[in-house]
Symmetry: C3
Subunit: 167 residues, 3 copies
């Protein structure tokens, strides 16, 4: 195999790895909702690094035990008993080596009579680290999209980052 072909091959391997990163991050994010709506606290918490942070505005938790505790807590349990869907929309993702950031809308839908209420719609920012076990969440931040400038800043930061890194 000549050098030019070898370079093409190396480049192809790198490109495939980046595509796999995208899919792995999609999976990490899309498993969160089903885990918390099913009350699977450990499975939800395992998406974070051991010292990962979840700042959900209505509360903030650090470490897997605390995050699992939130899922097991009365507030969350009462929400899922009544019927809930923690829907994460398809994210905007920027990967930079062993770090990545995703920006996505989240909708918390709750059963309400013959319909569902769109109870909370938030801007969410997910900061990931590549670990020996694969991608994990280091920090997730939610901000309610009720006109709060902080929620807008979160969205701005996410897409501006993309512009810088992705050209």
């Amino acid at each position: 195999m000549d050098d030019e072909l070898l370079a093409r091959f190396d480049s192809l391997e790198r490109r495939v790895r980046e595509l796999e990163d995208h899919v792995a991050l999609y999976q990490l994010m899309m498993g969160y909702g089903p885990a918390v709506d099913a009350g699977e606290s450990e499975l939800a918490a395992a998406r974070w690094t051991p010292s990962g942070v979840y700042d959900a505005q209505v509360g903030a938790w650090e470490g897997r035990e605390a995050i699992a505790g939130m899922v097991e807590g009365e507030m969350h349990q009462s929400i899922i008993r009544g019927g809930s869907a923690h829907v994460t929309a398809m994210p905007y993702v920027v990967i930079d080596g062993d770090r990545a950031v995703a920006t996505a809308y989240a909708q918390l839908c709750r059963a309400a009579g013959d319909d569902f209420r769109l109870w909370r719609v938030t801007a969410t920012r997910w900061e990931f680290a590549r670990t020996v076990d694969g991608w994990r969440v280091q920090r997730r931040v939610n901000r309610l999209l009720d006109g709060d400038p902080e929620a807008q800043a979160l969205l701005r930061e996410g897409v501006t980052e993309g512009r810088t890194r992705n050209g």
Copy 2:
């Protein structure tokens, strides 16, 4: 080409095939909503295998003819006449050779005066088979997220499967 490089090449081909599987399953799922909201009954039904099952809780249909008949039926036609969006959220997907399972939220939005109602929000499970014509749905199950333990079990099964197979 030496053996080591050949092994890398084979591995790369396998990885690309798995990425293509993810995209193909995304496409199969995301074409469902537009097909049923446009009343394209055959196009909707063609996403299933010939003997595929659609268990939508409000009814269950086996085979493409039955699924197409549901789309052509008065209940569905009346929903789409009034204005509807069968939105499937980005799924959590586990691929295992020629089988795959996706877990996703579905929202059925209906026009209601100046707004839209979030009429049904369901947990959906899609079981796929790879056929000579590509991936097809063998069985799809919807369960309303109104606190029903069966809906929670469906979500749990989906993400637990992922844990076992994906580590």
Copy 3:
């Protein structure tokens, strides 16, 4: 490297390029909502080609300056001040060389007291061109899903195209 292997390699490169196209189109679409909800008018408009068109039914704009002007305009500014989420659902995508078409649902959620209203749910069609700067939107069309046959036609066109090209 023998000819057969070289052919496999070329084919693999083409397949990786198509997967990258899918991810690039996902990114282009998913950055739109965060940009407009944050009021980042130029970042939103830069997703279009210089002469790109945005036909949103409530108005139509041609060229980046006009699209940015819509974002800066009083109607849009008043929507985002009150709290909004322009959520684009995962799309159905058909790629054909340097052209692509995506069909997706869009939900415009607005803060309303303790809940959010699902204000507008639309069928959206995005026509893309591959440019020297990557994929850009040439034309985007939104149609409200209130039973309007034009909205249904837009969905039908999107999934029928897929059938023809994807088999």
